[in-house]
């Protein structure tokens, strides 16, 4: 039962021994008579005794296991000792007390069942090694295959999930799924986009993608069809992929036309000027709605209501984080409502113009191509006879307008 080879071993094992004894159950007994003989006989019969101490001149107190006590009878008779129990200790005796309390037992089983039930579920899914939108796609795939928080681990094959992700998400080169306890970890390796390879055998022309005034020409392959300073319209041929030989006997050669044609381009937008403007002003009155989140379920608390006719709402989640960064699937969502009032505000000329300009800039900003450089910005105010006014914003830019157009047919 214990490591009797060394004392220190025994000492370190002491706690375990105590625990074991407690689980198995033991008795504290008093032996009266020739106790030395009694102890020797017990020892020889492999009955474990411990914590033996002298009580008075003819009796000792000792502890023995339940089984040991059963086997003690003969030893007691042989040595002429009288043995009786003064206390029963340990789990079996403790539980014995509750043998008639059914509810207690049921509760115990219920508790155990609950623990088993909840530890056989997935409570958290973590995806690592990929960008946000790939993560979203992965979660979508998981949802489709029925894997999610609260799903039972039984029947879940990590390899299968990994294969599903690989098959359904194109950006993923490799996926590994690991289930550790109640947490599922998905490690993903994203495919790096291949660099654009120019296929030299794919013959094409370069055409203008926008109207513009050509300012700079760099041709790498093909026949130039325009000159610096030319005005081109959208779709006009800039560099041809057909190379005509100077001596017609050699015939024509087709190439993949390449080059940068930098041109000045103009972007324009017109917006009516508004002298009236509805402004939302917070009145300062607020109301908080609270929801408890359990496993994706949202349960509203008492006192939740739509407090105001018009409001802005801001909601944030409070999470419960346990040890080891373990996030519990419960939390609180607080939704704060701010009452607002709409107010029509009169704007002065300058204010109206500034507002329109800002809008126009925003609108054009989404139209500009990413490599476009804005050179000049021009703002005009136009008015007609009826008094309506517009703001016209013109942006003068410089950009590469060459676009690829496949050379159709031979």
């Amino acid at each position: 039962m214990t490591c009797s080879r060394c004392v220190s071993g025994v000492v370190t094992l002491m706690f375990l021994v105590h625990l074991w004894n407690y689980i198995r159950g033991y008795v504290i007994i008093v032996a009266k008579g020739s106790v030395e003989r009694f102890i020797n006989i017990c020892t020889r019969r492999q009955i474990l005794l411990w914590d033996i101490s002298r009580k008075d001149s003819d009796s000792v107190v000792m502890k023995a296991s339940r089984r040991g006590f059963m086997m003690m009878r003969q030893a007691a008779r042989k040595s002429g000792c009288r043995v009786h129990i003064i206390k029963k200790c340990g789990l079996p005796f403790f539980l014995h007390r509750f043998r008639k309390r059914r509810g207690f037992k049921a509760g115990l089983f219920f508790f155990a069942a609950l623990i088993i039930l909840f530890t056989s579920m997935i409570w958290e899914i973590e995806v690592s090694g990929c960008s946000r939108d790939v993560e979203e796609q992965i979660f979508k795939v998981l949802e489709e295959t029925g894997v999610g928080k609260g799903r039972f681990k039984m029947g879940l094959d990590p390899k299968r999930i990994a294969a599903d992700i690989l098959l359904n998400v194109d950006e993923v080169a490799w996926a590994g799924v690991q289930i550790k306890g109640v947490k599922m970890t998905i490690s993903v390796q994203e495919i790096r986009p291949r660099p654009d390879v120019v296929d030299e055998d794919e013959y094409c022309n370069l055409v203008a993608e926008r109207d513009g005034l050509i300012t700079k020409i760099e041709v790498l392959a093909g026949t130039l069809k325009v000159n610096e300073g030319d005005t081109v319209t959208k779709g006009q041929l800039l560099v041809s992929g057909i190379l005509e030989s100077q001596t017609p006997e050699f015939g024509t050669k087709y190439v993949h036309a390449r080059g940068r044609i930098t041109a000045r381009t103009w972007y324009e937008t017109k917006l009516p000027l508004m002298y009236e403007y509805t402004k939302r002003i917070r009145t300062g009155r607020t109301h908080e709605n609270k929801y408890i989140r359990i496993l994706g379920l949202k349960i509203g608390l008492l006192g939740n209501r739509k407090a105001f006719e018009m409001y802005d709402s801001i909601s944030y989640d409070k999470k419960v984080t346990g040890p080891f960064n373990w996030e519990f699937p419960i939390g609180l969502t607080v939704e704060k409502l701010y009452e607002v009032q709409e107010k029509r505000v009169k704007l002065s000329d300058e204010e109206a113009e500034a507002l329109a300009l800002e809008k126009a800039r925003l609108q054009l900003g989404s139209e500009l191509s990413p490599d476009c450089r804005v050179l000049e910005e021009k703002v005009d105010i136009l008015r007609n006879e009826t008094g309506d006014a517009w703001l016209q914003l013109t942006l003068e830019c410089e950009e590469d307008i060459a676009g690829v157009e496949p050379l159709g047919g031979d």
């Binding site: 039962m1 004392v7 025994v10 030395e36 020892t43 492999q46 474990l48 914590d51 033996i52």
Partner: protein, 105 residues
């Protein structure tokens, strides 16, 4: 008193002369002496615990003293508050505040 002395004298004599075969071998090959024979091994750590292996039985036991029979005679351990922490057929652990470990006592 006289008789006891005589007895112990004789025991000393036998001890010197008769080493068991295993013990002789152990000494020859410089093996740890506790590998052969059933001589007692007494281990004391600090002064609160004594472990005796290869013992035959306890002879006397009270809170100031415990006497243990072994193949090399009786070992007496004295002290105060002596208890037997654990006892199995191979080993006995004695606890308490120990002041003496005597042989042939």
């Amino acid at each position: 008193m006289k008789r006891r002395k005589k007895e112990s004298d004789r025991k000393d004599g036998t001890e010197r002369g008769l080493l068991s075969m295993g013990e002789k071998l152990a000494r020859m090959f410089e093996l740890p002496p506790d590998l052969f024979g059933n001589r007692p091994k007494v281990t004391a750590v600090g002064r609160g615990e004594v472990l005796i292996e290869n013992f035959k039985g306890i002879i006397d036991f009270n809170e100031n003293m415990v006497r243990i029979n072994t193949n090399n005679g009786i070992i007496r351990i004295t002290g105060s508050g002596i208890t037997i922490r654990e006892i199995t057929s191979e080993a006995i652990i004695i606890g308490g505040k120990i002041s003496n470990i005597d042989y042939d006592a």
